[in-house]
């Protein structure tokens, strides 16, 4: 394999990290004191986050084990208001990158799932239970609770609006 092809295989996030490290090295020449302060701050942040990442790992493993696309598909067959409830729950409990869910949602659309319910599912993917401990540490549990409730309400409002708008635009 050519060197160029090997470089292409490296995910973009590694380039991001390398760029930041390079900035640190360059600034070390001109502003040594600022870089040392930054590294102290960095160590403090990492120390604060290690136990949270352990908790995130445990919660992610549990959610990956119990919540599968099959589990969600099974519950999407519910009728009426229950369907909205399961879309909210499904969005919150679903894991993995969002693009992984597009094919399944596209398939469900063909089977009659409304655009509004898909929008509701996608909006609720923003609420991540495994990441709540980190969010609470940064912003307080009262804030996260209120934000979560407001977001759930607006996910349903967005779903209803999308249904109406998609009908108008047909």
């Amino acid at each position: 394999m050519k060197f160029k092809d090997k470089l292409k295989q490296i995910p973009g996030s590694w380039y991001f990290l390398m760029t930041i490290v390079l900035i640190y090295i360059l600034l070390l020449v001109f502003r040594q004191e600022a870089i040392l302060d930054s590294l102290t701050f960095f160590c403090q942040l990492i120390y604060k986050m290690i136990p949270i990442f352990v908790l995130i790992f445990v919660l992610m493993s549990l959610s990956n084990y119990f919540i599968t696309p099959e589990f969600i598909m099974k519950h999407l067959k519910e009728k009426g208001i229950k369907k909205w409830f399961f879309m909210v729950a499904g969005g919150i409990l679903s894991s993995g990158p969002i693009y992984m869910w597009y094919p399944l949602l596209g398939d469900l659309k063909k089977k009659g799932l409304s655009y509004g319910l898909i929008a509701c599912f996608l909006y609720n993917r923003a609420i991540k239970i495994p990441l709540l401990p980190l969010a609470i540490i940064y912003f307080s549990w009262q804030y996260i609770l209120v934000l979560t409730i407001v977001m759930i309400i607006f996910s349903i409002i967005q779903g209803i609006l999308i249904n109406k708008l998609m009908e108008v635009n047909k």
């Binding site: 930041i20 600034l27 930054s38 934000l147 977001m151």
Partner: protein
């Protein structure tokens, strides 16, 4: 269960360079950028702050962990809660990076309407969340 743990470890490992890079960047910004810069960028009015926060969140992409780290540090620098909330909400609900994939699979009209709606709602959600918090706390 072993497979689920492996999947989680893989997910965290994939996010690792982005998280580490973000923590390094946040540490650097906290040291070299004065607080007055953030106060100049935001602190105009609740609506304008949330609008700016939403724009910044919409064009950013990545793991929500990154947005919490950024948002938390923005708050420490004196940026208003409404702006930080709009930033957090738009980061996870507006997907400009995923827009082409979403359009291709779920339809262009739907993808545009959903993302535009999510952008506008991030401002409303931010203002409402801060208002409710102000009442109950």
């Amino acid at each position: 269960m072993k497979q689920s743990m492996f999947k989680s470890a893989k997910g965290l490992w994939n996010a690792f360079p982005m998280i580490l890079g973000t923590i390094l960047l946040v540490s650097l910004m906290s040291t070299i950028i004065p607080n007055s810069f953030y106060l100049f960028l935001f602190s105009k009015s609740s609506f304008l702050d949330s609008f700016i926060g939403s724009i910044v969140g919409s064009i950013s992409a990545g793991n929500p962990i990154t947005s919490y780290i950024f948002g938390g540090e923005m708050l420490e620098q004196g940026v208003s809660l409404v702006a930080v909330t709009a930033f957090l909400v738009s980061w996870v609900t507006v997907g400009l990076v995923q827009l082409p994939a979403e359009s291709a699979i779920l339809g262009k009209k739907f993808a545009l309407l959903r993302n535009l709606g999510a952008f506008l709602f991030s401002i409303v959600v931010a203002v409402l969340t801060v208002l409710i918090l102000g009442v109950i706390m």
